[in-house]
Symmetry: C2
Subunit: 406 residues, 2 copies
């Protein structure tokens, strides 16, 4: 047992959960790599933590010899630039506030232990870094007694993490300041503003991982002739239109802008040299399904968006969930040797089953692709990061060491 | 037998062949649908007619009761706007020249018979309309004794057909005149200018045909926020760079611009609403293959381009053909039940076989996809439309009726 485990000195510990967010106006491209400043504003929906979240416990003790981090049960190097940036910024802020407010700064000399887990497979490509850095920064801010917005710190861990610092509908302003202080996340509307909105995360069976998003967006900014035009001349008005659509709960506008912006983001990836492809054949089938579904009904009833991978995220209204789920199950049935239907659709309590008309099936007219979709997560908009006060929910024990796995 | 077949009056008849062309700066989008005026200039390579061409015979006789057309053995309606436009423009020009030059205008009162065939499958998606309209217009111009450039007439049949009126490297100028008279094709350099250049047409096994190019480009111009920027701010300088690359026989520049422009054209298709996808998984694999092949050699030795379909056209230099063919055969082998290798690669006389190093195979590192490629046509740059004088090569008999199929 390492020195420190047997300590009887009190340690400080905080546990938080933080949500995933899915952008409807996409972030792709930095104007400052160090400060993680984007080339355009973006806007996202924070998803409920009941289905998808990261949980993180941070502890500080004079007995800890060095900062350490455990992710999903494995110790990882703490010496990555992004982790160091977040830790450094939190400590700098804590030091500054101690000085300004004459607070106690007992923890400033302490090393920290960090333990973090996702309640969903990291490999699923579900933007886990946003939830992860949001949770880390939120936990550390609480531990060091920092109040107020710390989204600019989360941003420096992973750009889109700043948007996971708020619940509901969140914009990340581009900012103009050189130090990045005005490139922060702001809530546009709380989750309760649009209670009927639902989200289906369609996890697609993918081959090996394509280009990572950090490298991908660097290459796009360096080589695409279109991405700067998008950032300067397309996104700003789209961002305004999207905010209006959210505030008006105008699903027609919300859905159409969401799809157009996803497509344009992937268009700039294709305009990259060498080109980057994130959509696979299943992604394209889902895109066709959604457009044909909407055309069948004569209006936008479902909208897709894709991040840096083949998984689709569908936005839709509560009343249409049974029909869209039935369509997805019809055209992307689970493999025969797959689990039961309950595990194929996960998340919110089962919606009533819906039989789809043969008219609608004909309108969609795809060849069914068994096994192309792994599973579907049914969720909705949700809250900002939460503090868990029950020590049983902490990932570190009372001495600040990872609890034994069950 | 119809009236007219038994006629003994002399008829006028002309047979021509015309080439396919493959753009390296893409045409996508019209600023005038009626006149077929493009939103940007484009540039293409005219391919040798030894491998890919259309043959057309036109005949005029006072005995013909109406204009008629037979395509690939089937009579088709002559009453399509594009055919009528070409016929009308040719007759208008013939009338004008008769008036100006006091020529004989005997044929002006005659109806015409048109018979046309491709020496390649139309279904292969090999831009047959460009060769088809070029051949039609060339044949009719000869028949009616019209000299000089008639690319503006071919353009009104199918935009890219104007580029098939010249051999070698051909630009289609955008033009500014309202009547479209300055939106014409011009030769940048003859085929002999760059004798080492080779072309591999990789015919991919595709599912059903995606959106046609006429409809596709209309939707792109109407809905893409990026395509106007491409046309106005990206293509003009690219066109200049490409002309310079051709004149300098600079394969590095030629290849890189070709790939970037293909990707950007497909990016604007993806930015269309609803999005248009022409590239399939095999297309993407070929793109990866080419980039990895070039990276392995530290320079651009092969370049891909894709039109409105999944087939790849590769440009490369003669010396690299054996290696690239070997790579294509390795990663896209013919199906076991497919024909022999000789029919898998068609066209220019067989190049010496080449063994590919395991290093190179590792660098490319794709999973082989048997059957994904149907066959490959090995060809090069070629000449403008040709007149065939041997009556045996005509598609109409001495009375102007389609010859019996063998």
């Amino acid at each position: 047992m390492e020195n420190g485990r047997a300590s009887t000195k009190p340690i400080s510990q905080v546990t938080c959960t933080a949500p995933v967010n899915i952008a409807v106006i996409k972030y792709w491209g930095k104007r400052d790599e160090q400060l993680v400043l984007p080339i355009n504003p973006s806007l996202s929906v924070t998803l409920s933590q009941d289905q998808l979240c990261t949980r993180t416990t941070v502890a500080a003790s004079v007995d800890f010899k060095r900062d350490r981090i455990w992710l999903n049960g494995q110790e990882q190097s703490i010496d990555t630039p992004r982790l160091q940036k977040c830790l450094g910024e939190i400590r700098r802020l804590a030091r500054k506030r101690k000085h300004e407010e004459e607070r106690s700064g007992d923890l400033l000399g302490c090393c920290v232990h960090i333990c973090s887990e996702n309640n969903f497979p990291t490999a699923a490509g579900l933007a886990s870094s946003a939830a992860g850095y949001a949770c880390l920064v939120q936990s550390l801010a609480r531990l060091f007694g920092i109040d107020g917005d710390v989204s600019h710190i989360a941003r420096q861990g992973s750009g889109s993490a700043c948007r996971s610092m708020y619940g509901g509908f969140v914009e990340w302003t581009m900012g103009r300041a050189e130090d990045g202080s005005d490139s922060v996340a702001k809530q546009v509307a709380p989750a309760e503003h649009w209670p009927e909105l639902r989200v289906l995360v369609v996890v697609v069976n993918a081959g090996k991982k394509a280009v990572g998003s950090t490298e991908g967006m660097q290459t796009t900014v360096r080589t695409s002739a279109l991405v700067a035009y998008r950032a300067e001349h397309v996104v700003p008005s789209r961002q305004d239109d999207m905010k209006r659509a959210v505030l008006d709960r105008d699903f027609q506008a919300f859905g159409e802008i969401t799809m157009r912006d996803s497509n344009q983001f992937h268009a700039t990836c294709l305009d990259t040299y060498p080109p980057i492809f994130y959509l696979n054949e299943t992604s394209k089938q889902i895109i066709h399904l959604v457009h044909r579904y909407n055309r069948h009904h004569g209006k936008v009833k479902a909208a897709y968006t894709f991040d840096a991978g083949p998984n689709a995220v569908l936005y839709l209204l509560q009343d249409d969930v049974p029909e869209v789920l039935a369509l997805l199950k019809h055209f992307f049935p689970a493999n025969a040797n797959n689990d039961s239907e309950r595990t194929f659709v996960r998340g919110l309590p089962d919606v009533c089953r819906k039989d789809v008309s043969s008219d609608l099936l004909d309108s969609v007219g795809l060849e069914p692709s068994p096994g192309a979709v792994q599973y579907i997560i049914h969720t909705k908009a949700g809250q900002d990061p939460q503090v868990l006060t029950n020590p049983q929910q902490a990932l570190l024990d009372e001495n600040g060491w990872p609890k034994k796995q069950n």
